[in-house]
Structure formats: structure tokens, C-alpha cells
Symmetry: C2
Subunit: 237 residues, 2 copies
Amino acid sequence: MLKNFREIAVETPVDKIIGQIRGLISSGQLNPGDRLPSERKLAEKLGVGRTHVRDAIAKLEFYGILKTLPQSGTIVEGIGITALEGLITDVLKLEESEFVDLVETRTLLETQAARMAAQRRTTEDIINMKNALDAYEAKVRNGLPAVEEDLLFHLTIAEAGRNTVLKSLMLIITPDIVKNFTKLDVCKDGRFYRSLEEHKVILEYIVNQKPELAANAMEEHLQDVTDYSKTLKENRD
Amino acid sequence: MLKNFREIAVETPVDKIIGQIRGLISSGQLNPGDRLPSERKLAEKLGVGRTHVRDAIAKLEFYGILKTLPQSGTIVEGIGITALEGLITDVLKLEESEFVDLVETRTLLETQAARMAAQRRTTEDIINMKNALDAYEAKVRNGLPAVEEDLLFHLTIAEAGRNTVLKSLMLIITPDIVKNFTKLDVCKDGRFYRSLEEHKVILEYIVNQKPELAANAMEEHLQDVTDYSKTLKENRD
DNA sequence: AATAAAAAATTGGTTGACCAAATGTTTTAT
DNA sequence: ATAAAACATTTGGTCAACCAATTTTTTATT
């Protein structure tokens, strides 16, 4: 019964403003290079405070859609094509993403990270990964939950992969993973122990510079979670 | 000679505040669940306006490090481990990433997107991809630059892949790709024409639901750019 | 008429004051 | 002694006024 309820959409002023700007861009009334009306004019026209307009611009600037020039104006600089419609909307709510999508993407990133780590890891990287693994083991042996230590180990692998963009993307989705892990209680008894062993295997392959073996081990390691997320989805449908 | 100059770091108040909060979290003085001092107290202590404090909190909230509860306070909710240090820093300047990292990650995401698109594309997706390809072709045939149309075609593929997270990540890195493309003038004569043919092949495989062939075609398609980015790196070193 | 200098208007950046919701404290009733 | 209600305080959210840099317009000069 509960699953028939949908979360009530609370459209904040900022969301509405973003929607309007998006509309102008996607309908072609605003093209790349064009200058946005001044914050004051926008605020007056939209009937809201300038703060809200500023917040909306700041968010869109973060995504590279807009660019603000101090004391001069705000211009459209993103890919400004009609079809942008619908795309911006989604990126603004990554947190609501399906768990299964999250896990799928994570697996992709992590598998590649493990592969690259095996190719590029330095001695220092090995130390970092070892330390993270030790911290994880310590918690597990005391019977404590170790979700964070788990992810931290994975992040050090990304670090060793020596690709800042890939690492950044992992950092972006990590909080969502943690949220879902704790909420859905993915971590049942025994999972941590088996996880620990799998971690050790992965690290072994990375240290010995076996890219494909490391990648495979990582993929298998994450397979459990994948399966679980799919089960969740089926039960809900 | 010019390459010996380094960009001068202009640390804005917001950056400094983020740095301090990061320091508190990584040094363990602030743990997940803890409440941050009120914005007023922080502003006074740091000797800056409350607006700057709010901006800093907003940014950290975006990354999932903090969570603001209206009229109540701001709490730490991210993975709050000591080793977080150094990681947050990087994610805050994705735009400065090495072009080669960007291309490498893009290839990873796009290859997977093509694979998934071939498995999951609907009839509507096919129409969208076809439209995007037509728009690209129209520009190319008129001898016009078509960087945006190019990327838009790729985004429709991601759309067809039916993974919102992966699509979001592509959207996040897309502006940086555009920036580097135009800056580095990757698109030389003839590239667009060959690119067009490759696009057609990829679309063909997706329409006919050949995941691995689509993935391979995409990888090859992006190989040119990869090679070019590596050349750039070597020349600079 | 062309150019340069100066003044006015406009811009985003910043601040402090005010608002309503949430929280903590005291008072009051049982 | 306990619980509930009333009050006061603190919180983040919002707004309007002010600031300095920029852009535009006007004016003065050649």
C-alpha cells in the first residue's frame, strides 16, 4: 500500500527559475554567448527575491550551462541546443536516481579504476591501499559496521588509478551509495567478512600488476550488490 | 617559455571556508552526525560575511558532505574519515583536469552507454538519435563546425542507455569536453566527415541491437581523440 | 566630425536587518 | 512530581540597501 504513494514535489523558487531558464535555452530564445537579463530584472519579472535568482544561476553555473562575469553579466556558455530540454532536469537530481543505475555505473567506474590501478600504482599507492584495508579489517574483526571504511578502500584504488576525472566522478556518486547502503541495509551479517577476503584478492592483483585479473576480481566483488539491487527493483514493481 | 608560468591561485573566501571545514572533518574534530556551528557564529569567527559561509555550505552540501536542515542547523553527513583529506580538494576543480584523463573517462562512459543503448533502446530513442545525427550531418555538409551537435548525438545515446546516473556523469563532464575541444582545436578538416560515417555505423549497431559491436565501434570512434590528447601531453612535457 | 575624457547608469558582489520555523527554557496546571 | 503549555532564544531563509567594478552615455576638446 505504502508504495502507491509518491513523494510530493516541493518545487522551490530556485527550481522554478532553473526551469524557466532551461525553457528559454531549449526553445532557442537563449543561445550560447547570449547575455542573460540582469539579476534584478529577472527577480522583478519572476516576482522573487534576487537571492533566489542568484542561487539558480550558481547551480546552472556549476553544471557549465551559464557563466557569470563579475560586474558585467551572465552568459550562456553550455551546449545550447534545443534538445538540451529534459537533460538538465535529470542532472539536477542525481540523488533520486534508481539504486540499480547507481550500482551499475559504480561497477563500471570501479572495474576500470582497478584495471588502471594495477597498471599505474606507485609504492605510495600500495601503502595507502594497505592502510585503508587494515582500517577496514580492524572494524570488521570487532563486529562493527564498516561501510565507510569499505568505500574508502575503493577510493584509494581510484586514487592509484591516476585519473583525476574518474576519481572525481566516483566521489560524486559515493555519498549516494553510502546513503542507499545504510537505508537499504545491504550489509547483512557475514557480508563484511567475505568482502574483506575479496578486498585482499583485489589488492594482491593490483600490487602484482595484473590489470585484467584485478578488473575481474573487482567486478565479481561488486556482483553481489548488483544482484541485490535488482532484487529490490523487482520486489517493488 | 609561456609554459613555465603557473596560474595564480586566487583563493576566494568561499574556498578558504571550504578548506577550513574540510580540515575539521579530516582531523576528526567534526564527525558525521555532528552539527556545524551556526552560520552567524562561523561568519563572525572567520571574519567574513554570512553569505560566504552560506555559499561554502551550499557547495559542500552539493557534494553530499554536509546537510542543511531548515531552521535547525547544518550537520556533517558525508563519509567522514580522516583520509578524506585531499580528496575533496580535487573534486572541486574538475575543470582543471588533464585533458587525457577527461578523454579516458569519457571513452569508458560512452563505450558502456553504447553497449547499453543497443540492449535497451526504444523506438522513441531511435528517433531521437536519428534526429541528432541528421542535425549533425546538416551542419557538416554546410562546412560548419558541429562540436555541439556531435556531443548531442552522444548524449542521446546515453539517454537510450537508460541509466540516469551514467547519463548525469556524462552531462557533468560534457562542458569540459566542449571547452577543451574548442580550445585545442581538435576538430581539423575532414575529421567531421569521417566522424559522421562512424556515427552512422554506431547508430546502425544500436538499432540492430548488437551491444558488443556498438561498444567496439564507439571505442574506435573515440580512439582518434585519445591519440590526439596523448600527443598533446607529450609535446608539453 | 572624431576622439578622448568624464559622468551617469548598470552590473554582479556583499552586507546587515528582518522573518518564520525549530529548539530550549521557564512557567503553570494537574 | 510530572506533564503540558507559554515564552524566549537560536536557527536557516529571505529581502532590500549599499559597494565597487564595468559598461554606456554624455560632454568637452581638438
